[in-house]
């Protein structure tokens, strides 16, 4: 069986230092104002009963990626190992993939003028290195590996820990698995955002 890459993020170990955000930016030369990988931080509850949550976000390299399905020129494609990539020479910059991704994972690179997102640091992985965010995470919260290899860290974690994904209802089958995520952090509280929450 071929490889199937995935990421597991253990939120119990994440301290919210944003080192992954910075590492990604410098590894991939991501311009200011846009991010391939970022950490959402939120606080829930009312004093004195409060808690803080962090949620690192990145492209989920979905099993059924809506970004890929809507691309009119097949500039977005998926490798055998599950990695979803953009062909920067073919992309016309129509923005359909950005509108269709349920996870806000994409943007138009203001310099290259094409769609862009996390590539799982494809070039690094190809030579046996870890993605920059995983490599740099100070709490050791991020794990990357092959789900088809039963001995990989990610396979073991998925087998032994309770995991969730963001918006499982989408039929995208996202491949970023969170350990210890709070449901409130996994999706925006839309009702509150539109002012409908009392």
């Amino acid at each position: 069986m071929g490889k199937r890459y995935a990421m597991v993020i253990d939120l119990r170990k994440c301290v919210g230092c944003h080192a992954c955000t910075v590492a990604c930016k410098s590894e991939n030369n991501v311009p200011l104002g846009v991010n391939r990988s970022w950490v959402e931080e939120l606080e829930t509850g009312r004093f004195p009963n409060v808690s803080r949550h962090r949620l690192p976000r990145l492209c989920n390299h979905c099993e059924n990626p809506s970004c890929l399905n809507v691309c009119p020129v097949k500039a977005t494609y998926q490798l055998e190992d599950g990695t979803v990539l953009v062909d920067y020479d073919r992309c016309i910059g129509c923005g359909y993939c950005i509108a269709a991704c349920p996870y806000d994972a994409r943007f138009i690179n203001p310099e290259r003028k094409t769609a862009e997102k996390c590539t799982y640091c494809h070039e690094r992985v190809a030579v046996g290195l870890l993605p920059a965010c995983v490599n740099t995470c100070i709490g050791g919260a991020r794990f990357f590996g092959d789900l088809n290899d039963p001995n990989s860290e990610v396979s073991k974690l998925l087998a032994t820990e309770a995991v969730t994904v963001s918006k499982p209802e989408t039929n995208n089958r996202p491949q970023t698995y969170y350990i210890g995520a709070d449901e409130k952090a996994l999706r925006p509280n839309l009702l509150k955002i539109v002012g409908g929450e009392k």
Partner: protein, 389 residues
């Protein structure tokens, strides 16, 4: 109640803005006006034959200018040809490219057969028009009865293909949004149908105004014949509004009762976008014209019909903007509404294209023979060339 406060978020932007909304708007009005005016040629309703020529020219021009908005919205407009060289059947946008070619082509053939005999008759006018007509005829000057019958048959043939193409060219834009399951506000099977119905409304609205202008400038006045036809079209428009309104209400009720994201979207339409959604789109743009057109007397009064038409044109534009842009204001991650302000460039493009399209449309109406059953064009001042020896 638990409160959640985000204090770190990645900024996100709205990429589909004014240009996309206006693109949907143009294709809609093209499809709407074509379907309306095909009632004569294709469906055999005699009185509409008078206006098929006005309608088809308007449909062609709108459709030729519509994709310019799309092109200028691309981050890489120079690569637009990739759309033809890489087909992707799961992408509604990929289907659209072919429809955007086939539909105007079909309409041009249709128009050619509609106009051919008048072009031949106009050859003796001399001057620029005659050279233009002779060019447009491509040598096909046969005026025998068989040739005339052939024109009629071909016009009907291309018109008949044109109707499903018109439905598709606008319906597909509904699929572009409807297929996006990430956004509750778009993700409904009603979307293509809502788009089509509102296109019938705005297409009819714009057509009425264009028809009045053409009649006025080409024939000097609106005769009773045309006035009664306009009243008929206004009556049709009333029904289009009724169906469109019913669809909007259906859409909204189901949205309100769907998932949390759907309910929040509905709530946002009512509150966040209230003035534009309730006020402009559905109040001023739908309810008021409907109330006007309910009265038979109003349908026979030109000022009332013009008012209703203008209101529907504005209302449907608001609807396109509310749906396309409003749909992206609701965030998919994070905690804030994503704000959108149209850039000066986009506004400039929209206005620029509108002006050029209006000029091209006027030019075509001015030079093409718009004779129709029951009316001849006003005699223009004869040029020396045109005077018989």
């Amino acid at each position: 109640m638990m409160t959640t406060v985000h204090f770190f978020d990645s900024p996100h932007e709205i990429y589909w803005g004014l240009l996309i909304a206006v693109y949907f708007y143009y294709t809609g009005m093209s499809a709407g006006s074509f379907i309306l005016t095909s009632l004569g040629t294709v469906f055999g309703i005699e009185k509409y034959k008078k206006v098929s020529k006005v309608g088809v020219i308007m449909a062609i021009v709108l459709l030729l200018f519509a994709p310019l908005h799309l092109l200028l919205d691309l981050a890489q407009p120079g690569r637009a040809l990739n759309l033809f060289t890489h087909v992707h059947l799961t992408s509604a946008m990929s289907w659209g490219v072919y429809l955007l070619i086939l539909y105007p082509l079909c309409l041009m053939f249709y128009a050619w057969y509609l106009f051919r005999q008048d072009l031949v008759n106009g050859l003796n006018k001399g001057g620029f028009k005659a050279s233009l007509y002779s060019f447009l005829l491509f040598g096909k000057k046969d005026m025998s009865e068989t040739a005339k019958a052939h024109d009629k048959k071909q016009a009907k043939f291309f018109g008949t293909i044109g109707v499903p193409l018109a439905l598709a060219v606008h319906g597909y834009t509904g699929f572009i949004l409807g297929n996006v399951q990430a956004r509750a506000i778009w993700h409904t099977p009603l979307m293509p149908i809502i788009f089509l119905m509102s296109a019938m409304v705005s297409g009819t609205g714009l057509f009425i105004i264009v028809l009045m202008l053409v009649e006025k400038f080409k024939f000097g006045r609106l005769n009773d014949d045309i006035k009664s036809l306009i009243a008929d079209i206004a009556n049709l428009m009333k029904w289009f509004i009724v169906v469109d309104g019913a669809l909007m209400i259906t859409y909204f009720i189901v949205l309100w009762n769907s998932t949390e994201a759907g309910y929040a979207a509905g709530y946002y339409l009512l509150h966040g976008e209230g003035w534009s959604f309730l006020g402009l789109e559905n109040g001023l743009g739908m309810l008021v014209p409907l109330l006007i057109l309910l009265s038979k007397k109003a349908r026979q009064s030109l000022p009332a019909v013009v008012t209703a038409s203008i209101l529907t044109i504005i209302g449907v534009l608001a609807m396109r903007i509310n749906l396309v842009i409003g749909g992206q204001k609701l965030p998919l991650t994070g905690s804030k509404i994503i704000e959108y302000v149209a850039s000066g460039r986009d506004i400039g493009i929209v206005l620029g294209i509108a002006v050029v399209a209006a000029v091209v449309l006027s030019f075509l109406y001015a030079v093409l023979p718009m004779n129709r059953p029951g009316a001849q064009e006003m005699k223009s001042i004869p040029t020396t060339k045109g005077v018989a020896q």
